[in-house]
């Protein structure tokens, strides 16, 4: 980034326009209570308050490609404690989504994959199919890893089967909404509206 771009509001403006609850980013006063309250905080390369500062410093690439937001467990501690009332959880989800959408989010992050699987899974039938989701999750890092994970998870899987909290019937069809088509139409439309609002960059 050139000296003339530093601390310019371009990226902040972009975040305000395109990211869920993005307009709140400017209100952060760098107290760090969010960073201190995050259960997976120690795994964050850049904690929320720092991400807000980076946005204001115009560090577009570093922010959107950061793995940090993907460690949000949605525990809402940050929201509960933020003295300025920033909806931090949502901003993190929003930044994650935006980075993924622009294709700059880190590719190999398990949570991104899982999150995508989850979404696709629900879009398909309108309801989540836990077994398929689970299995696809195990195999998302390739077949061998999948077997490993599956074996590792075998005991749990067994337990779930035995307590009827997971059933092989799910493999054949399983649950879903009757009007999955209608749901998909709704989601398609919603997506269109959102895309139309997105301010193109660069």
């Amino acid at each position: 980034m050139t000296a003339t771009e530093k601390y310019r509001n371009n990226f902040l403006q972009e975040v305000i326009a395109n990211v869920e609850e993005g307009e709140w980013v400017r209100m952060c006063m760098q107290c760090g209570v969010c960073s201190g309250s995050c259960p997976l905080g120690p795994h964050w390369e850049h904690p929320p308050q720092e991400i807000f500062m980076m946005i204001r410093a115009n560090k577009r690439q570093e922010v959107l490609s950061s793995s940090s937001m993907w460690y949000c467990t949605s525990c809402y501690n940050c929201i509960a404690r933020c003295p300025r009332g920033l909806p931090i959880t949502h901003i993190m989800h929003g930044l994650a989504h935006y980075g993924r959408k622009l294709g700059v989010a880190p590719k190999e992050l398990p949570t991104i994959k899982f999150s995508m699987l989850f979404w696709e899974n629900l879009v398909q039938k309108g309801r989540v199919n836990e077994l398929k989701l689970g299995l696809r999750l195990y195999f998302m890092n390739g077949f061998m890893n999948g077997i490993k994970t599956a074996l590792k998870m075998q005991k749990i899987g067994l337990g779930m089967f035995l307590t009827k909290r997971m059933t092989p019937m799910e493999m054949l069809g399983g649950h879903g909404c009757k009007d999955a088509k209608g749901l998909q139409a709704i989601l398609k439309k919603a997506q269109q509206i959102e895309d139309a609002k997105t301010v193109k960059q660069g």
Binding site: T2, A3, T4, K6, Y7, R8, N9, L12, Q13, R26, M27, M29, Q30, Q49, E50, M53, M54, R56, A57, R84
Partner: protein, 750 residues
Amino acid sequence: MADKKFGAYICKGCGIGERLNANQLASVATKEGKMAFAKQHDFLCNSEGVAMIQADINAGEVNHLMIAGCSKRAKMEAFNFDNVVMSRANLREGVIWVRPDTDEAKETTQEMANDYIRMACAEVRYMNLPSSSNEQNLTGHLLVVGGGITGLTSALEAAKAGYNVTLVEKSDKLGGVSGQLYKRIPNRAPFKDPQENSVVDLIAKVEANSKIKVYLSSIVAKTEGAPGRFKVEIAAESGPTTTETIGAIVQASGFKPYDANQLPHLGFGKSPDVVDQLGLELLAREANGGAIKRPSDGKEVKSVVFVQCAGQRGNKEGYLPYCSGHCCLTSVKQAMYFKDANPNIDTAIIYTDLRTPGAGGEDFYRSGQDKGVTFTKGKVSEVSPNGSNLAVKFKDLILDEEVNLETDLVVLATGMVPNSGVDIEAIPIAIEEVEGEPKKPVSDVIEFPVKGSVLNLDYRQGADMPQLVHGFTDSHFICFPYETRRTGIYAAGPVRRPMDGFQAMEDATGATLKAIQVIENSALGRAAHPRSGDLSYPKFRKEGCTQCKRCTVECPFGAINEDEKRYPFFNEARCRRCGICMGACPVRVISFENYSVETVGQAIKAVDIPDEFSEKPRILVLACENDAYPAIDMAGMNHIEYSAFVRIIPVRCLGSVNTIWITDALNSGYDGVMLMGCRKDGDYQCHFVKGSELAHIRTSKIDDTLKGLNLETERVQTLEVAITDIQRIPQLINEMAATIEKIGMSPFKF
């Protein structure tokens, strides 16, 4: 006043009657104390007891009262009689509450009480009712020096209260620095946007007000006299001078902006696009709500960086060590100038601590963020021209990295430098007589106006008010912000302490109240704070005076001038009645009618001194009535015991202690003397500023006297105590008693 009629009233309430032999006290009062009568009462402070005393006064039975009972700090309202003088013997907090209720203690406790009766009787015998100096006259007229927002406010507020005002402004127009602002920090909810600059209306109101007379392009060339009767010479640049009689003065001489040329590393002077906050106000006024253009090439500013604490909050050479308080809010306001005109302009404020205190401050900060101003915690090391732009080098303390950024314009948040006039402590006025020449009064020696002076006071101690720290003429007292060391002259606004315009207006209003107050009180001969209402003032015997100048030099309030014959000239209304001059006088010619070398000296002598072999030493304590004495009182209230051999006398200020009292005490057989005053260093707590310090200096010389008398130096101690030393003072007393026991009784007992 008619001839003195002495009467004693002895209260037997609160256990005094049970613990002490009241009849004995009464006979001490009449026989030794020379009281015409001594009435005993079971409950003197109740309405019936007070009525009895008042009846005696009305009947002309008594006009000099000795009341024995509780401390003089207790029941003040009850024992508050007009046109009489009164002394009080402290038998409750001072005797029975600090002594054990045992048979062995009975004798010494009674002796203690008897002595306090003797002392109070002696004191009242030598007291007189303060008589008027006939110096007072009422001049309900204020002088306001300075026509900035502070002076304008002071003038208007005084006029609103019905007083006439003369306002002197050295420049050719009113408004001062505030007048140059485009807009102001808001002082009303919701504290969201910059506020219209109301100084214009203020000026209009002042000019329209018939009670206010304005002198432009003029200075105060000479100020002599005292509250209620200042004579002030106002000199116009154009030549003519006018003299006005003034009651009190508000010094609103304001500040000048710090000279940013001292900050070349921040680019000032190197590029016209580096401005200070006042410079930006100018650009904003030119833009008048439109696009702000940068000085160098008139290009519309698209990005601006504010550098906080520029040349401030540092011990670097040439830096101001303090924080100017308003600059954070001012930068938020100025960033809004840009954002309100065009939200796409990039505005960054680089700060180390964002100081926007209070309700309004925090709201305004939040509003700044809401408008998209970027706040960055960082330290700027360099600003330098880079082509047509400016390069700002700083460390971002949050992102923990060195940053180089380019911007169109840089605003340096520099500080305030007070216009306090001359530093009288730095340049003491030399008035030592030249060989052969006749002695001259100060005013003949000094050329008025004194270069750089604001007030040009014709005062023995210098032409302006003493400064406190960093050149500000602030009060040192947290609970008394307007206590300047020149009675009747009150500093207000940034000359007193760094502050923004609205604080300055508040400050001006407060200072104006104090000015009005001093006018009202000096007209009645009443003292100003802290001895508010005291009618006594120094009387001095010219015949005895050796013109040693100690009183004129040592008065903390510059109250005493020297007349044409070099004799001290006491200005009643400038005097704070502390008695420091009385303590200073080596020939003891200065006294107050109700507080004198005699009233205390005789009380000291009145104490009954047992002989050398009685094993009953006597220790004299002279205690500051403002801090030490209340502490001793509270020791009593908490029933903390101390030696029965101590005799305590409250004094107005330790500085009023004349060393003769100490030598007399030693000569008359006291075994020890303790002087208890307030803290005296830079954080002094002496209500008369220098009293405690001076007392320490004076008594430091007492050692020679002691050696001369062949006495151990331990026998005299000068101590710093605080009003909270409720446990420590009894300890100190008991330690002194132990010391006496160790070194033995004084040989000077007759």
